[in-house]
Each structure stands twice: as structure tokens, then as C-alpha cells.
Symmetry: C2
Subunit: 408 residues, 2 copies
């Protein structure tokens, strides 16, 4: 049957696609499937009692404001917390530089809305965050890509690309990259900021996982390096737009993220937000503020890091023990994901149904490549399963891979 609505839809709907991941979640929700597919934080670590206390407090002390309409920019005490937190990390922002958004996903949508005309080129990593592509596809860009390796985006290659393609902005995930789990070296970060200033080109820095570092030194954000490049000028009127979220350190169900940017960019974000949905949930913003205002948060983040590191280690060990020769993988120093490369000839997308037969799920690498890329890759999440399940899940993937290699 034909779809009588097809001819009524805008042409932009042809560019919009369903997220492979969110579609996959529907398939793999059965309880006997071990899923490394989603990007779920560990639910058993959610600070449930703290959320309960926060709700009780808010609904006792300030219910009429917490349940009412509020400003588009976001709840001021929450924004002020972010100002203080970023300033303590060398990012010279003020209230005028912050827009609260529906997760960092909505910040990405607004970046598309305010920067991208149909046919504009965007310089993105290959592979990169699928959700960013999905947000921006609605605005009709073309992607130009630069490869990302174990030290992050290959920044030495981007000047030539900029000269050839004149992109609108550069999009980069410097910390515990989604999907690869890798981090960008300090040298490359500095070089990226220099190039950005040389070509007067905005950088979109997407940093949902930065605080979840298990080992090694926390590297300065691109936002901080941009402030430093401008000789410590006490403002945020540089080239960086930075996005992040409470989803990974508090709880994603609250949908509280943010964008940080120069004042003129944030003004446009506010207009975008007014048209898009007026504001984020007032109540959830109050809850997030109560949570981050508590002095227990650093300990809570330490707990998450300890648990995720254990899970990452379980996954790495299981690779060593089970995966067939020729398999390689990244070793993330933080975050939720790693990147597995099966031996040549294994197509992770084609193999996906066989994985589901084995009752295990992953995300094939293909949708993360804006244009094209190797087909033997997959993204694995290690935050949402305990070590035992991780070991068993990897074993199942190894069975699938070995069968494939044996031509079964």
C-alpha cells in the first residue's frame, strides 16, 4: 500500500532517518539478551535516595515555582552551578553563556538549527556520534570527514579539508569518544584550537563523558584551551561551542543537558528553544540542581568510575580470553564505550541477526561513519552490564565471530 502522506511531507523528512540504536533497543529488550547496544548508564547506581530527598524538599519548599512555567534559558541556580563548575576548570563562562537543553542531544539539534543551511558542509570525525548526524540531517548538510585514530581526530589533516570544503564548523568528541572510546591527545587539542582561530571556524566540542575518567590525567577541554589561546581573557567569546549533560553522572531520564557558547550564539539558542519547546522541565531542573548542590556528588562520581572501570576491565579480559586472532580493540580511559574490530572479512552489520540468535547485541560500526568506513567494526557498551554478563556476552560474540570465520 502506498502512503498517502508521502507527498505531503517536507523534503527534509527524506533526510531524516530512524536511529539504528533506538530501533535496536526495541529488538533487544528481551531479558535473556545481553545488550552492549545502548548507551545506558548503570541504573543500579542512580542516586535514587537523593532524588527522593530532592523531590520531597522541592515539593515542600517551592512546589508552585517548580511545577510552573519558567524561563527558556533554564533555572538560574542550576546555570550558576555550571558557571562555577566550568570556571573552576579554566573555562571563563558567565550566565550569559549557558542554555539548558533537553539532554545534549537537543543542544546538537539547536546547533544544526542556527548554523546549517541546506548543502552546507560540516567537518566531522569518522566515525562519529550517530545522534549528531541524526540531529543535523534534518537541516540538509553534507559531511566531510577526517579519520579518528587512537589519539582522536587526525587534526594534521584538517587544514587541507578546510581549504577545500569551507565547512561551517568542526565537530569533535575529545573525551572517551562515542563510538570509539578514544581520547584526543593534548597536542592535537592545541593544534585544533590554533587552526580554528586561523580560519575563524567554530568548534563544536561534545563532552558528555569527560568526568568519567578511570585512569590517567584529565586533559583540558577544547573550551579551556580556546580561553588559554586568547591569553586568558576573562570571557567566553571565542570559537568554541561546548555541549554536555547530567545524563551520565546523575540520570538520563531527567533529560538535562546544556550548551555553552559565546553570548550571541546562546541568544540564538534561546530563540531556537522558545520555538522548539519553550523550556526544559522546571521540575527536573530543580531536581538536578538539588543533586549537584550536594557535597556527595564527587563521591558518587568516584563510585561510577570505579564500577565502570571494573566493567571495562572485564570486557578487555574477555576479549583476550575469547576473541579470535586478528580481533583488535580500543582501551578507553573513561566513558561508556569501546570499539571492537573483528578480523577482516567479518561484516558486523550482516552478522547482527546471528548475534541476536546468540542472545547478545551490539551496535554495528556502519551507522557511525558519516560517509563510509570498514564493516568489521562494532561499538560495545560496558557500563550497563555486570562483569559476569559482560564475560558471557563477549563469549557469545566470539562464538558468532568464529562461526563466521569458519564460514558457518
Amino acid at each position: 500500500m502506498t502512503n498517502p502522506w508521502e507527498e505531503k511531507f517536507s523534503k527534509r523528512t527524506a533526510w531524516m532517518k530512524s536511529s539504528f540504536i533506538r530501533e535496536l533497543l526495541k529488538v533487544t529488550n528481551q531479558p535473556d539478551v545481553i545488550s552492549f547496544g545502548g548507551g545506558f548508564p548503570a541504573g543500579e547506581l542512580f542516586p535514587v535516595e537523593r532524588v527522593k530527598e530532592a523531590c520531597e524538599k522541592i515539593l515542600t519548599e517551592n512546589p508552585q515555582k517548580a511545577l510552573q512555567y519558567s524561563t527558556t534559558e533554564g533555572y538560574d541556580p542550576l546555570r550558576q552551578y555550571l558557571v562555577d563548575d566550568y570556571r573552576s576548570r579554566g573555562v571563563n563562562i558567565g550566565l550569559q553563556n549557558i542554555q539548558i537543553t533537553g539532554g545534549s542531544q537537543q543542544a546538537l539539534d539547536f546547533i544544526g538549527r542556527i548554523f546549517v543551511n541546506e548543502g552546507d558542509k560540516l567537518l566531522v570525525e569518522s566515525p562519529t556520534y550517530l545522534g549528531a548526524l541524526q540531529a543535523w540531517n534534518a537541516y540538509g548538510p553534507e559531511y566531510v570527514t577526517v579519520e579518528t585514530d587512537d589519539d582522536g581526530m587526525q587534526v594534521d589533516k584538517i587544514e587541507a579539508i578546510i581549504k577545500e570544503h569551507d565547512p561551517r564548523f568542526i565537530y569533535v568528541l575529545p573525551n572517551f569518544h562515542n563510538p570509539m572510546g578514544v581520547s584526543m591527545s593534548i597536542e592535537r587539542r592545541k593544534q585544533l584550537v590554533e587552526i580554528s582561530h586561523k580560519y575563524n571556524l567554530p568548534i563544536v566540542e561534545d563532552d558528555p563523558y569527560g568526568k568519567l575518567i578511570f585512569e590517567g590525567e584529565m586533559l583540558p577541554s577544547i573550551a579551556k584551551l580556546d580561553c588559554q589561546f586568547r591569553k586568558g581573557v576573562d570571557n567566553f567569546e571565542g570559537n568554541v561551542i561546548h555541549t554536555s549533560t547530567f545524563s551520565k553522572i546523575l540520570a538520563p531520564g531527567l533529560r538535562i543537558g546544556w550548551a555553552i557558547g559565546p553570548e550571541e550564539v546562546i541568544k540564538k539558542m534561546v530563540q531556537a528553544k522558545q520555538g522548539a519547546d519553550l523550556q526544559c522541565s522546571t521540575f527536573d531542573q530543580y531536581i538536578a540542581y538539588e543533586l549537584v548542590a550536594g557535597d556527595w556528588l564527587p563521591d558518587h562520581i568516584e563510585l561510577i568510575k570505579r564500577v565502570y572501570k571494573e566493567r571495562r576491565d572485564a570486557m578487555l579480559q574477555a576479549f583476550e580470553d575469547f576473541m579470535p586472532e586478528g580481533t583488535t580493540w580500543t582501551t578507553p580511559a573513561g566513558g561508556l564505550f569501546l570499539w571492537l574490530r573483528l578480523p577482516e572479512g567479518c561484516d558486523s552489520l550482516e552478522l547482527f541477526p546471528k548475534a541476536v540468535e546468540q542472545r547478545v547485541a551490539y551496535v554495528p560500526g556502519v551507522p557511525f561513519y558519516p560517509i563510509d568506513g570498514p564493516r568489521n567494526t562494532m561499538r560495545l557498551n560496558f557500563s550497563a552490564s555486570d562483569p559476569e554478563k559482560i564475560r558471557e556476552g563477549v563469549r557469545r560474540i566470539s562464538v558468532m565471530a568464529k562461526n563466521a570465520l569458519a564460514g558457518k
Copy 2:
């Protein structure tokens, strides 16, 4: 100082404007200003204890799911509640016809996203809901308008407009219209559905206030009439896309609204939502479900209606007692707003600073006209102030108007 970002922004940013209302809220938040400007429901009626019980229950019984990522379409029990509620009112929907959105504002944004190409024409009322214009402006439409009078949209004029302009859809607020407070007659509703089928043209029915009816008979929704027109076929594959919200019967701070539409439209909405912000707050959806699942809700709605009717009556009485001759107004049978027309020659936009001097605020009519309209009109909200304040606020407006008429 020039704005160095200007040249970097997309051309769509030139179409986006700040909402007069949301900017005005910043000016009129001082406690001694009586504000009829916002669209705030009465905060003192929020079901705070019920919200508290809901939070306690959810966070005790199901915290890991309520704080985790969830499906883009929305929380199934909440969607099922809506299915049952609409079916009980003759609207033959199923789960596949509902997308939960960030207030009904986000549903309007998605309608723009999936239907509007730059330069497309949209047939809207004059005046109409400012927020719809703001949502759609980002997609670059042109507006063609039909006047709305005390019986709603002048449907008898739209065939000629459709033939001339070939609009993408017709946008209508049939119940307690924002800004006018008027409702569309049953004859016009039926005629609108007939025309929609004759020209195979979608109707966007925006109904945030329908349940807040103070007097008279609740008229059938356009969605119901469309089902009837199709001879009671038990599906929702007609011409109507319907939007609504819990903001006015529960609390707007939760940001839970929805769109109802044919399955193919909802599929596109889901894709739009995935790119825009993945999903609404899981926690707020759980709260909303706990609230609507309670058998206290009908009594709560009766309470809101009783209080708002009292406030409307106070406003109407104050008009009678204070306003200068030549002032006219609408008499809404429900909702939150009414529409005041000052005597000829009074320009409500020009007078706004004088109103603020008198410590009273309203929304001038001008921004509600998609193209142009009389300048003596204003929208007044009666839900957010008690009768005494309403009387005093109207008195202040009357002073301002009388001064203006006297040339002061």
C-alpha cells in the same frame, strides 16, 4: 559593535524571533506588577500532594526505569491512558497514533519540521497562537490568514484561499482560542472537516484548553468530526493532526504534551523527536501517568474550572465597571484568556510602557496577527490572578486607556 557571529548563522536564524511574551515575562516579574501577560495556570491549584505521592511511589517501586533512557514514542502506560481517553470521546486512535512531546509546543515544532518547506504557505487564523508562528518560522513558511470572529475561524472564506494559495495545512484552535478565548461553532467545525476532505488538506487542531470548559456544551473535537465524517471507521487515518498537553490540567513545569495523528505522520514525528532530543523526561512521564491514573483527576479539573470561571467573571465585571465607552471584549466559555478591544485610536503596543508604569501587564494584540491586524487589541490572562487582583489590574488598565483617550 558588530556581531562577528552574524555571518556564521544559518539564514533561518533571520526568521526566528524572540517571543514577545517570554521577553515580557522578564519585565513584569516584579511582585507589585499585576500581570495578565503570561499564560500561567493557577499555581496554587497544582496537585502538589499528588505529585509528592507519585514521586514517592515511582522512586520506591520503579526508580531504575523511571530515571533511565526510554523509548522515543513515550511511556506506554501514559500513551495507553491517552488512547482510552480519546476513544471515550469518539476519537478512534491506537498507540500507533500518539507521540509524547515536550509540551504541545514541541508537537507544533515537529509539525513544522515534517510538513514545511521554505516558502510553503500555511493557512492560519488571524489572530492565532504566537507560539505556533514562532515554532514554524524556523522552517520559513509564508502565512495566509483567515479572520477569526466570535464563532471561531471564518470557515466560509477558506475555500477561496485554498484555491488561490494551495497551503500545506490549516491550523486552527477550536476551543477557547489563544489569544481570543472564542470557540468555533459546530457548523464551522463540520464545514472545516468537509473542506479538508474535499481538498485532501491536513488540519492541525491545537487543543490545550478543551477540558477547561466553564459553561455550555463541550463541542466535538475536529478529530472526532473527522472520524465521523469517515463514517466511524475504527482508525485515525484521516486528515487531522491534533495536539494537546497536560500543562493546563496538571502542571506546565512537567512539559508533557502530545501529538495525535495518522500512523505515517507519527512515524515521522518519532524520527523528528529522535533527532531533536531523543525523548521526553522519563521521570515526568511516569509522574504524569501516576497523576492521570488517579480517580481524583475529574474532581481536580472541576476545581480548576470553578476557580477560573470565578476569575473570568471578576474580569468581565471589572470591564463593565471601569473600562471607557467603546471598549469591547470576548466572553470565553472556558480556557485561560480573553481578548479586549480598546476604543479606536488606542494602540495597545504603544501604550504598553504606560501600563507598566501603572504596574499592570498584558500582551498587545499585534504579535498574534501573522500578517497585520487592528492595533487596539490585547490578550488578557485571567487564570493566574485572584479576583481582587483582577479587579485592581483592570482598573489600572482603564486608567491607562482613559488617559490615552484624553490625550495624556
